[in-house]
Amino acid sequence: MHLLRFFARRVLLTIPILFGITLLSFIIARAVPSDPLVANLGQRAMSDPKVVAAFRAEWGLDKPPHEQYLTYVANLLRGDLGMSIHSRRPVIEDLKAFLPATIELAASAIVVGIVMGVTLGVLSAVYRNRWIDSLARFISLIGVSLPVFWLALIFLFIFYVRLRLVAGPGRLDPSLIAPPHVTGLFTIDAILSGQWNILSNALSHLVLPSLTLGIFTAGLITRVTRSAMLEVLGLDYIRTARAKGLHERLVVLKHALRNALVPVVTVIGFSFANLLAGTVLTEKIYAWQGIGSYAFQASTTLDFQAIMGVSLLIALIFIITNLVVDLMYFVLDPRMRQT
């Protein structure tokens, strides 16, 4: 009952956040000295007042800002995110086209991150101050210190240009045709349609970008897992568990890890949300046509409908992740249920 009330309260509180997000993106996109005109019209068109007036009227830029915002919100409530000035398509269509690529990338990166991070973190805490701990901590510190865009470049140079071990930029070789659209994730669509050569090519293209992003994420997860584990391992109930003769593996994996999970789950949720947005740099280098590329293009052309659309989408993903993390607290930490 308590859980249900908590959940309902959080969902209701989400609505103002979404409005806050539209308002904040609107203010940033519109209350600035720059003008989308400059970014989207050529020099010659700019000097023709008729063209400028037509452009303003077409995109509603001739109306006062509050009216523009209210129109936007009214359209939003009907599920209409508006048109992109740059692509001249509905923003929702653009997002549908660009999102799956990023989900595919972020999901494989978070898997790399969790597997590497939790393993290293637990090992590091258990073998505290031994060489394994030093090595794990060293790796994790290196992981969070590498500039993602630089690492991406180095990976491309070594594994693609020089060694030819994996495929380079893009999601598929140019000679291949994308599998029939079901989920938009090339790997899954290839499996669904049984095109194994496409699957292996898509995976080959996925290796470098997901390693690039995964290594950074793993660094973060290792650090949090290690310190959470160390804290828990020092508690009395762990000593009790050991004193009553429980097997060390049981003590570590069942008694300790479970109670160390709260901060670990937080950092995983946070990392996943960040991955979906933080792919701008990685996508740019790997020519990955995802949300990051779209966001970069939208913000540099001041395509405000697109900026708001992307912000809303990422915000939604972020809010859902937060909710899931909060719910996990209830599952993981019984003390939370009483407050």
Binding site: L24, P33, L141, S145, F149, L153, G234, L281, I285, T300
Partner: protein
Amino acid sequence: MKLSNVLRRSPLAAIGLVIFLAWTLVSIAAPTLARYDYRKQQIAKRLRPPNAEFVFGSDQLGRDVETRVLYAGRTSLPAGLVVVVVAALVGSSIGAVSGFTGGWLDDITMRVTEVFLAFPTIILSMTIASALGPSLINAIVAMVVVWWPNYTRLVRAQVMQVKSREFVEAARALGVAEPRILVRTVIPNCIAPVIVLATADLGTAILVFAGLSFLGLGPDPSVPEWGRMIADGIQFFDQWWMALFPGLAIFTVAMAFNFLGDGVRDALDPRLRQN
């Protein structure tokens, strides 16, 4: 906390501090250390691999990469420090009050931080920077705007945990006024994680700043900056030295801060201390 304690306890932190100090000295002394003017173009000698004349090679305009790597520290290091210090001060104060007071004020603060956190660092920064026009100051402003909520949430969570502990109850039972409990009893028990986060954030701030600059949203292109140099290097893939050396610079600075942050965390958290 004594710095000497941190350094004695953690050799990594000592290494981090040494690298950071070395970079600080190098940046200050760049005009003396560098063998060229960072603007000097020698088109005839463009894209030279590392040699005796250009230790780190030369770039697409025949400028000395080593000189530009040394000078770039003068931009990136202060930028990272300013972002973190301002964000930590603003964010922590809001978080402490919010977590201690609770109720509707806390709800509003949390929703506001969620709105801000919903904008990922890079996207909000890109938008602000493109809108205001790319510049050093605008990049810093954009980063502070997205950074403070991290501290708010951290301090709030910490305060909420601490305020239900026995010693706070004890203070309350003794009749200590609420604001005094917050300042004297609760906050001192919440500062450690802020220092840890701030130290570790320095590395991230350097990385994000370099990223913005890489995207062309940092300082003016004529000013040497590591991220920007890597972006230039992308167009000249076979001239690996153009991207390698600025990247190593970012990496070593970020690593120094992360080593330091790690050592500070171990030293500040008595529960993690070795018996």
